[in-house]
Symmetry: D4
Subunit: 220 residues, 8 copies
Amino acid sequence: GEFARIDHHRQLRTGFPETIWGQGKTPDQIVQIMAAMRQRNSVVMATRIEPDVAEQLEEKVEGLRYYPMAKIAAIAPVRIEPQYPGKIGILSAGTADLPVAEEAAITAELSSFRVLRLWDVGVAGIHRLLDNRHVIAEASVLIVVAGMEGALPSVVAGLADCPVIAVPTSVGYGASFGGLAPLLTMLNSCAAGIGVVNIDNGFGAAILAGQILRTAGKLQ
Amino acid sequence: GEFARIDHHRQLRTGFPETIWGQGKTPDQIVQIMAAMRQRNSVVMATRIEPDVAEQLEEKVEGLRYYPMAKIAAIAPVRIEPQYPGKIGILSAGTADLPVAEEAAITAELSSFRVLRLWDVGVAGIHRLLDNRHVIAEASVLIVVAGMEGALPSVVAGLADCPVIAVPTSVGYGASFGGLAPLLTMLNSCAAGIGVVNIDNGFGAAILAGQILRTAGKLQ
Amino acid sequence: GEFARIDHHRQLRTGFPETIWGQGKTPDQIVQIMAAMRQRNSVVMATRIEPDVAEQLEEKVEGLRYYPMAKIAAIAPVRIEPQYPGKIGILSAGTADLPVAEEAAITAELSSFRVLRLWDVGVAGIHRLLDNRHVIAEASVLIVVAGMEGALPSVVAGLADCPVIAVPTSVGYGASFGGLAPLLTMLNSCAAGIGVVNIDNGFGAAILAGQILRTAGKLQ
Amino acid sequence: GEFARIDHHRQLRTGFPETIWGQGKTPDQIVQIMAAMRQRNSVVMATRIEPDVAEQLEEKVEGLRYYPMAKIAAIAPVRIEPQYPGKIGILSAGTADLPVAEEAAITAELSSFRVLRLWDVGVAGIHRLLDNRHVIAEASVLIVVAGMEGALPSVVAGLADCPVIAVPTSVGYGASFGGLAPLLTMLNSCAAGIGVVNIDNGFGAAILAGQILRTAGKLQ
Amino acid sequence: GEFARIDHHRQLRTGFPETIWGQGKTPDQIVQIMAAMRQRNSVVMATRIEPDVAEQLEEKVEGLRYYPMAKIAAIAPVRIEPQYPGKIGILSAGTADLPVAEEAAITAELSSFRVLRLWDVGVAGIHRLLDNRHVIAEASVLIVVAGMEGALPSVVAGLADCPVIAVPTSVGYGASFGGLAPLLTMLNSCAAGIGVVNIDNGFGAAILAGQILRTAGKLQ
Amino acid sequence: GEFARIDHHRQLRTGFPETIWGQGKTPDQIVQIMAAMRQRNSVVMATRIEPDVAEQLEEKVEGLRYYPMAKIAAIAPVRIEPQYPGKIGILSAGTADLPVAEEAAITAELSSFRVLRLWDVGVAGIHRLLDNRHVIAEASVLIVVAGMEGALPSVVAGLADCPVIAVPTSVGYGASFGGLAPLLTMLNSCAAGIGVVNIDNGFGAAILAGQILRTAGKLQ
Amino acid sequence: GEFARIDHHRQLRTGFPETIWGQGKTPDQIVQIMAAMRQRNSVVMATRIEPDVAEQLEEKVEGLRYYPMAKIAAIAPVRIEPQYPGKIGILSAGTADLPVAEEAAITAELSSFRVLRLWDVGVAGIHRLLDNRHVIAEASVLIVVAGMEGALPSVVAGLADCPVIAVPTSVGYGASFGGLAPLLTMLNSCAAGIGVVNIDNGFGAAILAGQILRTAGKLQ
Amino acid sequence: GEFARIDHHRQLRTGFPETIWGQGKTPDQIVQIMAAMRQRNSVVMATRIEPDVAEQLEEKVEGLRYYPMAKIAAIAPVRIEPQYPGKIGILSAGTADLPVAEEAAITAELSSFRVLRLWDVGVAGIHRLLDNRHVIAEASVLIVVAGMEGALPSVVAGLADCPVIAVPTSVGYGASFGGLAPLLTMLNSCAAGIGVVNIDNGFGAAILAGQILRTAGKLQ
Ligand SMILES: Nc1ncnc2c1ncn2[C@@H]1O[C@H](COP(=O)(O)O)[C@@H](O)[C@H]1O
Ligand SMILES: Nc1ncnc2c1ncn2[C@@H]1O[C@H](COP(=O)(O)O)[C@@H](O)[C@H]1O
Ligand SMILES: Nc1ncnc2c1ncn2[C@@H]1O[C@H](COP(=O)(O)O)[C@@H](O)[C@H]1O
Ligand SMILES: Nc1ncnc2c1ncn2[C@@H]1O[C@H](COP(=O)(O)O)[C@@H](O)[C@H]1O
Ligand SMILES: [Mg+2]
Ligand SMILES: [Mg+2]
Ligand SMILES: [Mg+2]
Ligand SMILES: [Mg+2]
Ligand SMILES: [Mg+2]
Ligand SMILES: [Mg+2]
Ligand SMILES: [Mg+2]
Ligand SMILES: [Mg+2]
């Protein structure tokens, strides 16, 4: 449609699925953009889709799949084969961070990457993390999702020997100020080598992790 | 002097040394207040005393001792005997946090408490902390000092079984915003039971730790 | 469940009830976590439970008790005997601060501590506080809850001779900025020795107060 | 001069001294404006004059008087008779707030008002204030100056029966954020009827207090 | 009730109506407090009462009057005679600021003061203000209410010869940040002698204006 | 030099002088860039040049002229003929805003525009502005410079019938927060049609005003 | 009505349609103001009108037209002839910015200006913009609307040779902080000559663009 | 030393040089830590070393090299052979961003990576960037350094097909707020897959870029 100028160029170049940012778009707009996109892509996805919008989409878009925890709606082959070397390890600090962590995980899987999940290993019970160090060791790139004080990426980066992507979440209250607290925490990490993305941006973290593994693939 | 109304009442009641907040006071004002205070107290101290001010004070105040790292100047007996049960464990995350950690330590010692120091155990190298868990175990109350992302108190509180007082410092740059980042981190800690004091306020942390041990003493 | 990694370790070590942070969790998640927890604990509680969620929980969790003012749901023995020395005095500045003050009070009682309540003694009518000084005198540790300008902890700390924990609340409007105003007030208190917790965090204040009394108990 | 368009109109109408805001002006500019002003006014004053600038002014402006604590330079009759009913009571919380409190006091006296001073009565030692309630009772309007947590105006307004003007100061550190903390405290005061001025604006507080007494005079 | 400690002391001393801050209180709590208050006061009022709450109150409180624009509910004599000298002039910048301006006006009238209203005289059409200068001239104290850029108090203070109370409102969007913009504008006014109250605090402005006129009355 | 990639393209296209932003550059860097630029341009200028840097530049760059109030150093013909229709009116609120206003004025004149200056017409003395309305009437585009509360652009835009460019300045203290206050004021102006530039950005305002007059020239 | 003081003066002088800011006004107030305005104006418009309010207005105001994307309701001739030279080019970065871009476009068209629209040309796919440079070349003034990082105006200003007006939008999440991020981006643009308006203020941008073209017309 | 607990563990594991954060450390402390570190490492470096500190270090540390633009002091072999596949492309927006860009470049080179530099390609002159697209194509990972509005990473990420690391700088003034503006810009980038580090943190960006290439190496 005229209101949306699809950047096929970038999609072809990068190999990631075409993605619609669902927030602030009407169901009708999403349906139209999806229709245009699916003509040239095997995987089309939309993020930030609330359950009631998903229901409307499912009626109009054939073959749509909805991931309620991740709030992602997608048109995709039933089975997506991993196409890149390595694994993306995704860790989350608390149960309430799961939607963001799953947004990252589903995005990565729809983009043909292998994913390792490790949930609820926040720093206040450090043994939960230390007991699962094999996940950190097995991954080639890590996405660490945390709200509240957002301290998990610092600890993980101290234990890991691969790039760490930190995702602050808006989980918390009071002096969290909508995720500002964990965002600042992550930016100020004394563990060098952490890349931070926007608050609640699981999608962007997955794309960056994917870029890292694709680059590794190209350098081989 | 007329410009300073000393609260002897509180001092007598609490047993802590009379303390002058040195910032924003002229050396002359400090000398006058110290003179008035020492008539009724065995320990008188001033915080936030820069080395050049300390030199001026030393000329005019007999028996003054200066602690350069802590920036504290004090009139006190040569040896202060511990008068309360238990120990105050003080941990700091990085080398640059030392002045604040020492402000806490010297204040506690001048107030007749036992102090255990553990420096440079930031979370990015978690083994430095885990290898020294005996310090955490030995203390009855902990003061945890950290700048940058300020994650140390959360991890410590998860390991400890006593009250934890968190002190954010202004150590850092950029998105630290003068200590705002570690302050928010500490307030949002998912480890319940942490009391936070003002940025760089080692003094206040020591007073609170002292109050806790004095209360323990009274409950016996 | 897989989405929640319970830290039994910490619970055993600290003696506090296992607690679920209800915000951002579905009723089903809460029911599942409660079921897992109650197998090993005599007291299980959940905070931030809205009345409509409480109703759903009550249907599925046998023996659940709901404290509407505190927004706490708990499984607990009918009578909880105090197990620690001393009393936790809880003061609130205004009527609208009651939910936070009660969150602290109920948490403390479910954790086997004695509680003294003193409501609506804000500083603009200082005699309401001065007329009740016996409460301050009787407590071994104080929790002071205040919204708006949050000045009450400073005044109380000046009158008290025990540790003071300050809880800012989001009560207010305009330049309160969701509790930022009383939070800053409390962090900047000129009465040294105040530990501050997150905005509206009555729960955390109670845990810290409890830790202080438990420590006192251990030092005996 | 062309760079400064003096508003004689307002001065005549209000009866307050012509005042130059010294900050960000060169000594030469100040001398020129003073020269222009003194032709039509018996009292001319400049605020925010640092000692070294004052020295330069004293050389070039005959009869200039400098108040170092208040950082005010003025040309004025040796004795200024009070011309209005009532007294302006000025209270300050701490020693470090004195420069702002004196800026208010000297401005008020140069404007022909009676002033009562009461210094260092911060809320952490409430008896220092309660013991001096006669000052509050004697004043017809109160200016209350406080930095750090800025709680004094709330307590004073609860005791007083006249208008209260609150002046936050930049005294403090860390989470004071240059006076933001006491500013928010004062704006959120639960004691209705407090008018707040800018951080460190002792001058503006004195003008407002003066307006109140002048209005009272006109209504007689 | 136990949850609300009424400060009759202050009410008697100041002569203003007892006032309940309606926000964050249940209708039942408001009814109970009103019942307790009306036994000792001829005028009892509650602010921040939404229309649906007002309906519930009207059913249970006899003789209650509701002012929908001001969101005030009151028990008061049918006619309140002015008891103090002078008039309170209330100006508002835009139509959307009316609720706050009326909160001030009704509070003042229920407190027995004379009120002059002048609405919609924002600075972008300065002639609307200049054409109504007689209102400014007739008032003994001015309340100036403005949202958006909040510039009106500065201009009014330049024209007036009496105390000016500025009330920022949350009217606006975007970079207004909930009223922060006009609040900062008013605090930084280059017209000295403006007292600022909290965002949307029409009530507090009226109490301060009233205090000023009462003081004038006492000085006679 | 390699560290500076001059955009001759844009300069040729727009006709404005090549301009170096002096802040954060060493005198040597500035000299080198100026040398490269003057080969292709008749006017080369540098902003934010402190007097001591200017002295160093004057030694090394032949024909350099320094404007101390505007802090601009320039290589330019002795007389620059106006080349565009209309006049740029520049108004400033206070004496301390002059450096920013002059930065705008000198930039405009070096860019071949006619300039009208009107200084010290802040809103607190509205008659100073109303008495000079002819300046507003004569200009084809207005630049309005104001610090503190920054209200002048709103009032001017209400009187003018041409585009208004607002420049907030960092003049002020306390709640000005380095110019944030007037910036927000100007962005929230209820007088539609005001374009705002960065704090203290007199240069950018002049370029925008120039663009407007050049566009007018092209449309003829 | 008494609550709204219409500034016919300004409307006549500027030639723009009378405009009501719909936010925070009741449908009844809007109907009354429209009725008063249409007596003297051929075009009357209201912004920020939600669909449900529009329906109520349409019932009571004859000949009202509603633009749902722009959220503008207007009384206007069926065909509005362009009356000024030049064209206003309006660019938007993303699909979600359309409501703000259309607010600008409809306002400009109702004000008798020619409009060129170019949607969804955000900087992350720079070729979408470069491929449409003819739009930039054809316009005499540009309005550039962008949310999220708000980088589009900088790039456009580097390509254009006419005034650029930047409109930040509240489109985004997390660290966008309601549009603060693109607002700061635009104010800090290294491309000099950009005028910024309030977040989401498409209306104001259109008025400023219109003023620029009207000025051009007058200079002819 | 006791004040610094070196984390040899991490250094061995990661292969990066041991690095001292020079800010807030005395020259003596730096000398001591360097001495301890060089015993086990072939490359030791310190960041944030001002020229005068560098001079003191050079006297005491044999073989020290100082990079004045990057403010890095290092002990390292004369020639460091690249040890990893791929190249790190480093782009900077303006001349004033060079110190941060060089901190990244020197850190990368001391860590045995190949570096491509491209300076002064800010978005306001987009052709400077487009003319150098070969640099983007040749790199396997990109570091993009920008102050002011910080828009460069978004544009680069749209052109690149590899991971992008964004470094906001504190270059700018006014509404840059010490680098907050470009930080927010980068976090909100609509080009997914950008990892952001702290303001002015060229060091951290280099470590993250290095981790990415090392990971690629390990996956081969
Ligand atoms: N570094 C510090 N930070 C916070 N409060 C302090 C500090 N040093 C002293 N104080 C407090 O400041 C009070 C004295 O303030 P003053 O009367 O201004 O000297 C003492 O009673 C302490 O409670
Ligand atoms: N310390 C101060 N704080 C706020 N406003 C002041 C101060 N001193 C003077 N003023 C005001 O600034 C005006 C003069 O400003 P100026 O023309 O820049 O000298 C006076 O009329 C006062 O209203
Ligand atoms: N969307 C808008 N954003 C900013 N200002 C507006 C908007 N719509 C209308 N206005 C302005 O608001 C004024 C009317 O405000 P009001 O008197 O409250 O209806 C108009 O003259 C316009 O200048
Ligand atoms: N410029 C810098 N910015 C951020 N982190 C740094 C910087 N320089 C060194 N570091 C980190 O700081 C650690 C050393 O800190 P310290 O022990 O205080 O010297 C190193 O291991 C690095 O990870
Ligand atoms: Mg958990
Ligand atoms: Mg270290
Ligand atoms: Mg009450
Ligand atoms: Mg004192
Ligand atoms: Mg209006
Ligand atoms: Mg002036
Ligand atoms: Mg798009
Ligand atoms: Mg450049």
